[in-house]
Symmetry: C2
Subunit: 469 residues, 2 copies
Amino acid sequence: MTAVATTSPSDVVQEPKPVRASGPTPDAGRSPGTDPAVRSRIAGLRCKNCHRPEAIGPHFVCPACFGGLEVVYDRDAVRAQVSRAAIEARDPGIWRYLELLPVDQAPARGLAVGSTPLIRADRLGADIGLASGRLFLKDDTRNPTLSFKDRVVAIAAARAVTFGFDTLACASTGNLAGATAAAAAALGLRAVVFVPASLEPAKIDHALSFGATVVPVEGTYDDINRLSLEIADEEGWAFVNVNLRPFYAEGSKTLAFEVAEQLGWRLPDVIVAPIASGSLYTKVARGFEELVAAGLVEDKPVKFVGSQPDGCSPVAQAFASGGDEIHPVRNPDTIVRSLAIGSPADGRYAVALARASGGSIVSVPDGATADAIRRLGRTEGVFAETAGGVTVAGLEAAYRSGVIGPDDEVVALITGNGVKTPDAKWYGLGGSADEARAGVPNHPGSAGSGGLASPIEPSYTAFARAGLA
Amino acid sequence: MTAVATTSPSDVVQEPKPVRASGPTPDAGRSPGTDPAVRSRIAGLRCKNCHRPEAIGPHFVCPACFGGLEVVYDRDAVRAQVSRAAIEARDPGIWRYLELLPVDQAPARGLAVGSTPLIRADRLGADIGLASGRLFLKDDTRNPTLSFKDRVVAIAAARAVTFGFDTLACASTGNLAGATAAAAAALGLRAVVFVPASLEPAKIDHALSFGATVVPVEGTYDDINRLSLEIADEEGWAFVNVNLRPFYAEGSKTLAFEVAEQLGWRLPDVIVAPIASGSLYTKVARGFEELVAAGLVEDKPVKFVGSQPDGCSPVAQAFASGGDEIHPVRNPDTIVRSLAIGSPADGRYAVALARASGGSIVSVPDGATADAIRRLGRTEGVFAETAGGVTVAGLEAAYRSGVIGPDDEVVALITGNGVKTPDAKWYGLGGSADEARAGVPNHPGSAGSGGLASPIEPSYTAFARAGLA
C-alpha cells in the first residue's frame, strides 16, 4: 500500500458531537447526497449476484435476477476523504468511520453504538494453547442492547430517517427485536417487531421495554419474513432486515474498522466469527478490504474462520464438501437459536471467503458451545450468549485442526451477552440448570473451581464445616 | 482556579495499554508505594469520623472510634502529576484517571470498565420539561457486568492484587455478586460470593457464569455482613465491600471524572443519583472536588439531588426533617432491592451534601419508579434497572419542586441495566407482567404507543384486521 493520508478536506470531515445531539435531523426531507463532495463516495446499490446497478433507496432485491443488493462506494472518493487522524479525532462509536458507511452525514440522534472493547485474552488463549498476547476478544456484549445487532440496526435506522420512514420494523427471533425497538425509541420513530408466537416471553421483554409494539405471529420464521415483505410494501414501513437490508448489512463492517484501529491500524492474522446468514462474516472481510483500499491499513492476509452449531450448519457442510452449494437445513436442532438459519443468504459467499483466505468453516456440538461459554466466563469475566460460545468453540476446533497456529494473532468476535440466554451455559453438564438453582452443591463441571454451594447458617463454624475455605 | 497544567513528569505518567495486558502484576509482592514519586500522591487512610490517620492497607474501620476509613491524597502531588493532556492521550476506561485513584499503577489485567456513554437525552428532557440540550444520562448500563458496581470492584480488586490476596469475596444481594465474580475471573483470582438463601435464582446466575463459588446463607443481609467480617479476618480474604471498602468506595469517583471530561472538562449544574448507602452520591461530589483541586476543571456550584424509594428512604426522611440523624428502616418494602439499605453508612454525609449544595434528597413511590423505567426506555432507548427508575423519577420530582430549573444542565446517573430486573417495569400497571406475557393486547399503559399485541395469522389480511397498521 502507499502512504496513509493524514489530512482530509475540512469541508467533508464532520466532527461528531461529544454526545448524542438533538434537533431536526439534518438531511431529513431532502434527497440524499445533495452535497456533491459527500454524495460522490456512495456510488449506489448493486446486485451481489449479477452486478446490475440500482439507485440508492429502500431497495433490497435485484429486479433482474432477484439477487440481494449491496452498497457500492466510489473508493477513490472515500480514499480522498478519510484519514486516520480525522477518525481518531472523533468521539467513540460507529460514526467515527462515517466515510466508510452508507450514510451521508452522522445522524444527529440515535443510540451510542460501537467502540466496544478489544480485550487481550491471555487466560483464555493459554487455556486453548495460543501464545501469550495472541488472542483478542471483540466484546460486543457491550453494545446498547447487548449485541452486535445495534450496529446493523443503527445504519438501517439512520437511513430510514433520511428516506422519510416513520415506522421501524423487523422480523426477529431474539436480539434484533430489542435492537430495533431501542434504536427507534432514541430516534423518535415508531417500532413494530414481528416474532414467532412460540417465542419465549423473556425474549420479547427487551423490545417491550423500549415501547415497541410486539406482534406475535402464528407461523414459522419464514412465514414472518414473507409477511414482513408484504407489510413493507403495503404500509411503507422500514424493515431493517428486509427493505433496508443493504444498509443494515453494512453495519457489520464497523466491527472490522474498530478491530483494525484498536490493534493500532493493523489487521490481525485470523478472524473467528459466528455464521448465521453469513452476512457478518463476509462484511468483516469487506471492511478490511475497504480499510486497505482507503489507505488506512497495510494489506496482509487474514484467515477467516467461521463457526456454526452442529444442529444447523449448512455453510460448514458446504465448506467440508468442497463444493459451494448450500443445502438448506429444514429443521434446525440446536440451543443456538440466533444461528439457526437453515437457508443462509450469504452462505456461498462465506464458503468462498473461507477458501480464498485459507480459513475454514467449522461446526461444533451444543455441549462444546455451553462449555465454551463457561470457559470464557471463568477465564476472562465475559459472559457470552450461545453464538459467542459457538465462536470460542470454533476457535478451539480450528486451532486443533491446525488452521490457526499458536503464534497467530487471533480476534474472536463475541457478538452478544449471555444475560439474555442464561440457561444455555448449563447445557451439557451432568446436572440441569434447575438442579444448579435448587442448590446442588458443587455443580457438575464446576466442582473445585466455583459453583453453587449448599446453603449454610450465618456462622463461621457453619462456613468452616462446609469446606468452603 | 489557576491555569490547568498541561504537562506532567514523564516518570510518573503511565500510558495504559490499548487493551487489557497480561504478564505478572507489576507490584504484586512488594510494598505499595516503593517509588517515591508515585507514593507521594496517596497519603494514607483516615477515619471519616474522627480523622485519625491509618496506614494504607486492607483496613476499613477506625480502631479509635469505629468510624469508616477513607483514602487521603496529597493534593499537591496529584496536581503536579496529572493533566488533561495525559488523561486524554490514554485509552478508554477508569485507569485513564490513575493519578486520582488509590492505586500506584494501572493494573496489567482486569475488566475493561468505565468510559460509558454520556447521552444527550432531549426526548426525555422534553417529556419532563427541561430545555433542549440540558439533560444528559450517564449510561452505566454499559459496564462489563451491566452496572456501576464494576467501577468500585475494579479498584478494590486491583488493590487486592497488590495486597497479595488470592480470593476476592463479597456479600451481595444482586449486582455486586456478578461484578465481583467477573473481576476475579479476569484477574485469575478465586471468587466467593455470599448471598441470602432467599435470593431469586436468576440473580446468582450471573456470578455462576464467571465461575464464582456462590454461598447461600440462611439469614438476613445483616447476618451475612457480620459473617463476612469474620471470614475476612479468619481466612484472609479480600471482601471488596468490607475490608477493602475504602478503596472500593473510591471507584465511584470515576463517574465524576468521566462526566466532567465528557462535558468538555466542565462540571454540570445538577447531578441526580440514587442513594443506597450514600457512598456513590457523596463520592461523585468528592470526585468533582478533586478535579477542581487538581486544576483539571473550573470550580462552580453543583447541586446534588439524591433519590430513594418510598419503601426505604431513611436519608430522604432525614433531609426532610431538617436534622441529620438517620433513623434506620427495619423492614424495607420496595421493588428497588438494590437501594433497600435500612442503615445507610454514609447517610448523614449525603444529607450534609444535599444541604450544602442547594440540592435535595427526595423519595418516590415504586409506581413512579416503574413508570420512569418505561418512560426512559421509550424516549431514549435505555433500559434501566429499578435504581435507574428511582433516579429518573427523582429528577422529575426535583424539577417539579423547583430544585432543578428548566435551564439547568443536569446529569442523571443510570447505574444499572434493566435486563437483570425485567419485571420491575410492569409494576404499577393495571395488568401484571404475567398478563402482558400471556398476550393481553394493548397492555395497559402502553396502548397506542407500543405493547404486546394479540397473536395474528401470518397474512397481511390478518395484520390489517388487527388494526396494527
